[in-house]
Each structure stands twice: as C-alpha cells, then as structure tokens.
C-alpha cells in the first residue's frame, strides 16, 4: 500500500533518464532557492511550511480509482497561486525528499524526475492557466476560485501524463527498467488523473476561496517566480473589493 502513483520508484527509470532529470533540476533548484533568498520573508516562511506540510498530507489520502488502482492529489497549484511557482518547487522538493528518504515513497534516483513533474510542471502549467483566466475575470474571489480550480486540474493532469511519458519510454531506451510502453503508461496515468483532477480542483479552489475571503493579505506576499513572470503575477495584489481603496498600502515585504 502506498501512494506510488505520481511518485516514480527506483528501478523504473534507466540511468540515462534519471541523470537527465538531475541535470535539468539542478539549475531549477538553484534559481528557485535564489528567488527564495530575495523573496521568502518572515511572513512567507510559516505559510510555505504549512503548505508543504499540507501537500504532504493530501498525498497520504489515497483515492480509490474504479480500475482497481489508487491515486492522490498533490496541492502544488495552491502553493504556486499563493507564493509563486518557485515556492511550489521548493515546497514539493521538501515534501518529496521526506517521502523518499523516510517513507520510501518515490525513488532516490527518480527524485529529480518526481520533483520535475510535481514541483515544476504542475505549478508552472498551473500558474499560466491561473493568470490567464484570472486577468480576464478580474480581481474577485470568484475569478480566483475558478482560475485556481482549472489550473489545479490541468496542472495535475499534465504532471501525471509527463510521469507516464518518462517511464513509458523506458522499454525503448532502457531494457530492464519499467517494462510498460507508452501505449500503457500514458493512458493509465492520464485517465486516472482526469478523475483525480476533480478532487485536486475542489481542494485547491477551497483553499483559494478561504484565502481570498478571509486572508486577502496573503495574496499580497512576494511571489517566488522567474524574473520574467514577475509582472504577470504582480496583478494579483489584493484589491479592496468593498471600499475600492488603492491596494498599494499592503506592503509586499511585510
């Protein structure tokens, strides 16, 4: 029993694949932590700790899938929306590290690939969808909830398909590792997560609803993101919907 679904175990990816993912993740980790060194302030640390722990917890809830397997949600888009996509990269890296080291959930060799799928693909796909929709719908709770739900759904589905692709190519390039071809791996991961994505969307929408209604100050925290995304993300500063006051008074650095 274990939430292995999105967590690729050791022995599935051949060395060529998992080394490539370490090579891809090292610069991303560097950039994410560099962004954190500028933007992770005293107010953001408790939130990131909470959201990383929340992500760890939701991943423990294995959900039954009608085909007899199980899957779980991730929570990466919640972090991306509230603290920026690089914050999700850091949060998921921490959660996945603890899962791999302490609980054997997700491999050590596959660690970088898992971080890429859940900590990069999912939050970045999510934040693009979120921003695109939210900008069009305006700075309201409704807009944030709708945008975050769609972002979470497609973020999870893309991450799962990516994972399926990674072990699905193994039979062609690395005999002795995962024996399931793309024709098995991709449909299995995709179909499962088209279903689980609904739960991911509801959970994400609920957290974003709560924050938007009760803690709008959180939306004004600095976002950990690549430089070129900063302008795009800045627009989610809390707007006093009732009074229509300027939103600038909430200092970004706390």
């Amino acid at each position: 029993m274990g939430g292995f679904n999105l967590h690729i175990p050791d022995g599935y990816l051949g060395p060529a694949t998992w080394i490539v993912f370490y090579a891809v993740m090292i610069p991303i980790w560097y950039l994410a932590f560099k962004s954190a060194s500028h933007k992770l302030g005293p107010k953001s640390v408790p939130l990131l700790a909470f959201l990383s722990a929340l992500s760890f917890m939701v991943m423990m809830f294995n959900l039954p899938i009608p085909d007899g397997t199980t899957a779980h949600i991730v929570g990466a888009v919640i972090i991306a929306v509230l603290l920026g996509p690089y914050a999700a990269t850091i949060g998921l890296t921490i959660a996945l590290l603890i899962q791999a080291l302490l609980f054997g959930d997700g491999g050590i060799t596959a660690f970088a690939a898992n971080c890429f799928n859940m900590g990069v693909v999912m939050p970045f796909v999510g934040i693009f969808i979120y921003t695109a929709i939210r900008v069009r719908m305006g700075a309201t709770t409704r807009s944030r909830v709708v945008a975050s739900m769609l972002a979470a759904y497609f973020g999870l589905v893309t991450a799962a398909t990516m994972a399926g692709f990674e072990f699905g190519i193994q039979p062609y390039i690395a005999p002795g590792y995962a024996p399931y071809g793309l024709d098995v791996a991709i449909p299995a991961m995709l179909l499962t997560h088209l279903l689980v994505g609904i739960v991911e969307a509801v959970a994400t929408g609920a957290v974003v609803y709560y924050v938007s209604e009760h803690r709008p100050d959180i939306l004004g925290l600095p976002k950990l993101a690549p430089r070129w995304m900063e302008k795009m993300l800045k627009e989610d500063i809390p707007v006093r919907e009732l009074g229509g006051e300027p939103s600038g008074e909430i200092s970004a650095d706390g």
Partner: protein, 104 residues
C-alpha cells in the same frame, strides 16, 4: 523581523488531516497499490536500493487498526520534518540577509 509562528488554525487543520489520514489506506484496503497491478508483467521486479526507516508509511500490517496507527505516526513524523526543514531554510535565508545588511 523575526520569522513568524504558524497560526493556530493552520496547525489545527494539519492535526485534523493527520487524525483522518487512515482514510487514505482504509478506503483502498483491498486495492493493489497504484503500481502493484502493473508489477505483474512477467517476472520484472524494480530494483530498489534504499531502505527507508518507515517503509510504506508504516502501513504494512495485516490489521487495519495497526496499519492506521502506523499511518498516523508516519503523518506526524512527516509533517514535523517538513515544518522543521522549511523553517530551517527560512532562518538560513534570514540570517544571510542580516549579514549582508550589517556588512553594508
């Protein structure tokens, strides 16, 4: 400014999820794990070299009660570890910034 504490409400939500976590194994008790079904292709067994101290979140018991208790213990260990690591990173960053500012 000092790194802030986590609001009580957030902690209560984490505690509630920890207590409810056995749902995550009981709902799928007779299911194969996500990869289990696929593992039966020929005689292929993935090679693993890492012996985790709390394998499968301590849920590998015959009894549902023992598995649930193991799962809750794992959830507590995981949540505490993640909060400590994240605060550790936050404190490292804050100290570095302080040093930078004091040398300016």
């Amino acid at each position: 400014m000092k790194t802030q504490k986590m609001p009580r409400k957030w902690l209560y939500l984490l505690i509630a999820l920890i207590i409810l976590s056995p749902i995550g194994i009981l709902l799928v008790w007779n299911y194969g794990d996500a990869w289990g079904e696929w593992g039966e292709v020929g005689d292929w067994i993935p090679k693993s070299f890492w012996n985790a101290p709390f394998p499968d979140y301590l849920s590998g018991f015959e009894s549902q009660l023992a598995a649930s208790i193991g799962y809750i213990i794992s959830a507590i260990i995981g949540v505490v570890a993640i909060i400590l690591v994240t605060y550790g990173i936050g404190i490292l960053i804050a100290n570095r910034e302080k040093k930078k500012q004091s040398t300016k």
